[in-house]
């Protein structure tokens, strides 16, 4: 580590500061008071080993600690503790915490050691994979706020988290599944120990007593495997039976039940053959496959989980803003629209709102897929769930709870997961027919073998039942769709309807709306023509100064274009539909419609201005009593990534079209700049609808990308629709996919993900089909024993899941 970077966090040390902490016998430089305080806390507690063992640098603690510490006292209230603290005994409590800032394994050690030394703490465990901590303490000797303060003192942030959430359920599911696998696996091994000698022993090698004893021992060990481990199969089959349909579990339950009962009978009567080894092995392979499948699935759905977990539990409400600014820590559920909250750097914004004060940037990566922080100044809208990065923000609450954008996104995603995609419905129908046919075939096989060789009837029938179970067939599609939905969400494309992935992949035509979709949808200052004594910057600043309180889109565009401070003007008068007038250094200035500005000085526009007016764009003038000062040309700028997306989609062989209500000239200009051949300008919502309909009559699968209220009908008409995340609410709820990031490049990426998903589904289906076609005759002819059947079936399901997992994007870590 160089001399110039902070020993604690690795950030460069400014020359002006001098914080020194002695670590490992040498003074080390720190970049800020926060780092120095943290490092001192670590060393003073004798935990300096952390610096030797760590293999990643921690986050910088940034903010000075006292502000954080004040709010911690709130966590001691019984009301707040309800959701995340459990009482273990009369005085012992256990809290579930989520810890932010963990970067390497040494952090775990540091936190556990440090927390364990706090008064009253009985135990502390931190889970490295999930960053969750469980802390147990004695209520009489310590307080939770002290524990949280201790964690904060060494540079981490601990938040309580509600254990009653699905994560806990998933953990329970994982544990009980693992236990079932273990029971089956251990039963299998032990039963095999008794089975192998009987296979190896020659005629008369083993006494009847020993053989019978081994059978009984096998029976005792198979009982828990069939009764407990295989219980889910029996339950599933019973449920199917009750609903008068046949599902995956029916053949499995039949096979297991038949083989087990026959073996029990053989044991009781000391006759025939026993199949305990095959039964246990079959159950073990099946459960093992299901366990791996489940862990894969749980990992894939984590995106939705992450989204719903974004909202913090508490917020700092500012009473009597802006006069007194009394801070009070309140639960987010108690916030109402109109309240003002303070969001410190590093905190998550708890509500949708508008920035009142402060300049900062927020990270909306999880919501929109946009990885770069978004700059926020007063007046900017912030989304609940994004993280404030730079400096404190005062935010006025606009939406809370269920009406926030985050809640809407989670709701849309849930809707998608509840609907059963057509593809999956189809696969299920095929599988149900398949099972009916399979049961019939199994019955025929049993009858046939009864005449050929009655001794082999049972296990051949069981093998046929098991080996052809269409698990892989019915897994092939849903697993891919689940993983694809997660991958798309990470790319900023939210799937809100179940069929969207499939239809997007099949699309032949992409139809784009222009305004707000291919362009930003709001005017921007493109050109300034000066006609008077001032230069471009002065004119822009003057116009921005006059428009400084205006909500008009052109006024906003002017303010955005003006750099630095704008001059102060007096006596601003707004004439709606015309423009604004103000006094500046003794002269009257007007900015607005050309004719209205001209009334002020009665002078014609010079010759040089005509070129500017010819383009068809909006032009606004600035003038005073003496004459014209400047002309401003505004236009809707094309999104910079649009051209790349267009060439990308064209390269994939898609037909592109542009539909817009705008004038022919403007539309053609945009289409030409991007390379779209097909243009329909001056289109009404009806004619857009008709155009898409005519494409569909020619057999096209149309994907429509739009943003506005006027696009809603055509979005509904197209087979698959994509709405811009920044577009109207109506368009968003109509659409099958929402492009949260507003980044068109993500759309192209999403299209490729969808295409790959469809390809993987086809692979999976082909594999499942081939497997069944090969395995069925082999089993019917008696070449497959039940345990081989179990292995084959589990392996085919597992292969399908692993193949689907290829769609998952690589984790960054």
């Amino acid at each position: 580590m160089s001399q110039d970077s902070c020993y604690h966090c690795g950030l460069p040390v400014p020359d002006t500061v001098n914080f020194l902490v002695e670590i490992d016998g040498a003074p080390r430089r720190m970049c800020c008071g926060g780092c120095a305080a943290v490092a001192k806390a670590i060393v003073d507690n004798g935990l300096g080993d952390y610096y030797r063992n760590r293999d990643a640098l921690p986050d910088s603690p940034r903010e000075a600690l006292p502000a954080v510490l004040d709010s911690l006292a709130l966590y001691d209230h019984a009301d707040f503790q309800k959701s995340f603290v459990r009482a273990l005994s009369e005085h012992e409590r256990e809290a579930s915490l989520i810890i932010e800032g963990i970067t390497c394994a040494a952090c775990i050690w540091l936190i556990e050691q440090h927390v364990a030394r706090q008064p009253g703490v009985v135990g502390a465990e931190v889970n490295f994979s999930t960053h969750r901590a469980r802390v147990r303490w004695d209520e009489r000797r310590g307080k939770l706020s002290d524990i949280l303060a201790a964690i904060a003192a060494i540079g981490y942030r601990a938040y309580p988290y509600d254990t009653a959430r699905s994560e806990e359920l998933a953990r329970e599911e994982r544990r009980s599944a693992l236990w079932r696998v273990f029971v089956a696996g251990f039963g299998m091994m032990q039963v095999m120990m008794y089975a192998v000698p009987t296979y190896l022993a020659g005629e008369g090698d083993m006494t009847l007593g020993i053989e019978s004893l081994m059978r009984w021992a096998s029976l005792v060990l198979t009982l828990p495997v069939v009764g407990y481990s295989a219980a889910p199969f029996f339950r599933g089959a019973w449920r199917d039976f009750g609903q008068r349909r046949v599902g995956m579990d029916v053949p499995v339950a039949l096979g297991v039940g038949a083989a087990f009962l026959a073996s029990v009978w053989a044991t009781l009567t000391a006759s025939g053959e026993v199949y305990f080894d095959s039964v246990t092995m079959f159950i073990f392979f099946l459960l093992g496959g299901r366990y791996l499948e489940m862990t894969a699935r749980q990992r894939a759905v984590s995106v939705t989980e992450a989204l719903s977990k974004l909202m913090p539990a508490f917020a700092a409400r500012v009473a009597a803003y802006p006069a007194e600014r009394v801070l009070a820590q309140v639960s987010v559920a108690d916030l109402h629209p109109g309240d003002v909250v303070l969001v410190r750097p590093g905190e998550t914004i708890p509500v949708d709102g508008v920035v009142l004060e402060g300049n900062s940037a927020t990270n909306e990566a999880l919501l929109t897929g946009e990885s770069a922080p978004v700059v926020k100044a007063p007046g900017a809208a912030v989304i609940g769930g994004s993280v404030n990065v730079d400096s404190p923000l005062y935010v006025r609450v606009e939406q809370v709870g269920e009406s926030t954008r985050l809640a809407a996104i989670v709701g849309l995603m849930e809707r998608a997961s509840l609907e059963r995609p057509r593809l999956v419905q189809f696969a299920d129908r095929v599988a149900a027919r398949f099972i009916q046919a399979l049961l019939l075939v199994a019955a025929l096989v049993a009858v046939a073998w009864w005449f050929i060789d009655p001794a082999r009837v049972l296990w051949i029938t069981v093998s046929v039942l098991v080996v052809t179970c269409p698990c892989a067939l019915s897994l092939a599609t849903p697993v891919v769709l689940t993983i694809a939905t997660g991958a798309l969400a990470r790319a900023g494309l939210l799937v809100t309807r179940s069929h969207a992935v499939e239809t997007l992949a099949r699309a032949t035509h992409f139809v784009f709306d222009k305004t707000g979709t291919l362009t930003y949808g709001r005017p921007e200052l493109l050109d300034v023509l000066t006609l008077g004594e001032f230069d471009v910057a002065t004119c822009t600043a003057l116009a921005a100064g006059i428009e400084h309180a205006s909500e008009h889109p052109l006024g906003v565009a002017l303010r955005e274009a003006a750099e630095g401070a704008v001059p102060a003007v007096r006596d601003v008068v707004n004439t709606p539909g015309c423009g604004m007038q103000a006094l500046f250094e003794g002269r009257t200035l007007r900015v607005g419609r050309l004719g209205w500005v001209e009334e002020l000085h009665r002078q014609m526009l010079p010759e040089s201005a005509h070129a500017l007016l010819a383009g068809g764009d909006t032009v606004v003038g600035l003038g005073d009593e003496a004459g014209w000062l400047a002309l401003f040309r505004f236009g809707d700028r094309i999104r910079p990534e649009a051209a790349m997306m267009v060439s990308d989609l064209r390269a994939a062989g898609l037909r592109l079209a542009l539909l817009t209500g705008d004038a022919e000239v403007v539309a053609a200009g945009v289409a030409q700049a991007l390379g779209i051949d097909e243009v329909r300008a001056e289109a009404t919502p009806q004619s857009k609808h008709a155009y898409v309909e005519s494409l569909q009559k020619q057999g096209a699968v149309v994907a429509m990308v739009g943003d506005g209220v006027n696009d809603a009908p055509v979005l509904a008409r197209a087979q698959v629709s994509v709405a811009m995340g920044g577009g109207s609410q109506l368009a968003r709820t109509q659409a099958d996919l929402v492009l949260l990031s507003d980044n068109l490049e993500h759309l192209a990426r999403g299209y490729h993900v969808a295409r790959r998903s469809l390809w993987v589904i086809r692979q999976n289906l082909a594999w499942a089909f081939v497997y069944n076609v090969v395995a069925l005759p082999l089993a019917m002819l008696g070449f497959v024993t039940p345990w081989m059947a179990g292995l084959g079936m589990s392996a085919s399901s597992l292969l399908v899941v692993l193949n689907s997992l290829r769609l998952q994007p690589r984790e960054r870590r």
Binding site: D49, A105, R175, W179, L213, A217
Partner: protein
Amino acid sequence: MEILYLLIPLSVVLVFFIGIAFWWSLRSGQYDDLEGPGHRVLMDDDKVREKKPGK
């Protein structure tokens, strides 16, 4: 061969004890974090006790 009459029942009993041991390890959360403990064993906290006797 008579010893088998003892060994086979014994093996059955043993299986149940092993099952109980696994059940305990599962319930105590040993399978929840498969990454952390591997790192944790490398952390050396002997020196800490030397520095702070009585703690």
